[in-house]
Amino acid sequence: MSSVTMWRGCRRLWWAHSPPTRFPRPPPADARGGPVGSCGRRAYAPPAERKRFYQNVSISQGEGGFEINLDHRKLKTPQAKLFTVPSEALAIAVATEWDSQKDTIKFYTMHLTTLCNTALDNPTQRNKTQLIRVAVKFLETDTVCYRVEEPPALAELQKNEWDPVVAWAEKRYNVTIGSSTSILGPNIPASTKETFVSHLASYNMWALQGIEFVITQLKSLILSMSLIDRHITVEKAVLLSRLEEEYQIRRWGNVEWAHDYDLCELRARTAAGTLFVHLCSESSTVKHKLLQD
């Protein structure tokens, strides 16, 4: 579900003050004229964009963690909970997102805020086991396991680019995955799934939300794990996920308003998801070593 649909469907937005302005409703049926309507307004008017209503964005530390302040008001989630994050770096990144909005607030660019809201509200009400199950189920339809037989150039490209990643995953987790050209996909043994289930269980709930998000974006569990294990960069993971599209672009040409648009959006979301996972699962301490003199 895209961010834009979510904002349009979400009636309550997360300003800190209440009540929020209502979205303009479409005019009732009898007020609409013919095709050249008597009122100049169209049948569907998208909701008016929220202007930037704050000057300063700052961070403060509360009991549950770090909070974001827009001017003097505290930021809240769509379900009106107080917005608290466990990590200071994550709070700073969210504050930067809010601070970089000029004139109007574009929620579809604020990926980290979205992820934090999802983790805090858990609107789909899933627990840890369900999240892990969804994530591991993706292995059966993993992009890098599905190969084509023709055109031979694409089959070759898939072999050269995707085989190393699959081999890395097999070695790192000590499992068998394999790849397949049939429509049913690869046959993943149960032991492989169990290994991944127990590995994912070591992450906390917030990090799991991020992992599931990255898997949904890249359409691949293997690419997501190699990204989270810092084996490949975000750009490379996105490239591997879109391998066939890149092949077609090189063959038939690039369409900026579609290809580049999708590429940038995918990169933004994947980068946000990865950063979210890392910031939620790290606990960094700086050990000062004594300098040898």
């Binding site: 930067t96 648009y261 959006e265 890392h278």
Partner: protein, 107 residues
């Protein structure tokens, strides 16, 4: 370990992106100060292969990718998808018509 290149290059690009995002007072923004402090803290180390340093570099590269792609995505959206619907006058003009003007007002 991912092929990331020089940390200095990532740092410079990241600071540039933060400058674009923040505006006038970018040097006082918490993100700018946090990034600089984090890079300085991990600079002094006697180990050749410092895991924390690589983790920080990877995080910095990921954040750089996020900021850069959000900026590019917004630019593309503004250029290609930001215009919204056409008005009835524009739609009529597409096929060469003009809307009728009734002297007594509409309806």
């Amino acid at each position: 370990m991912a092929a990331l290149g020089a940390p200095l290059r990532t740092l410079r690009a990241l600071l540039r992106e933060l400058r674009h995002a923040a505006g006038r007072s970018y040097r006082d923004s918490p993100a700018y100060r946090h990034v600089l402090a984090a890079f300085r803290a991990h600079r002094v180390t006697s180990e050749k292969l410092c895991r924390a340093q690589q983790e920080l570099h990877f995080q910095a590269a990921t954040y750089l990718c996020l900021l850069r792609s959000v900026r590019e995505h917004e630019a593309l959206h503004r250029e290609y998808h930001g215009r919204g619907e056409r008005s009835p006058q524009e739609v009529a003009g597409l096929v060469g018509f003009r809307l009728p003007q009734q002297p007594g007002g509409k309806g």
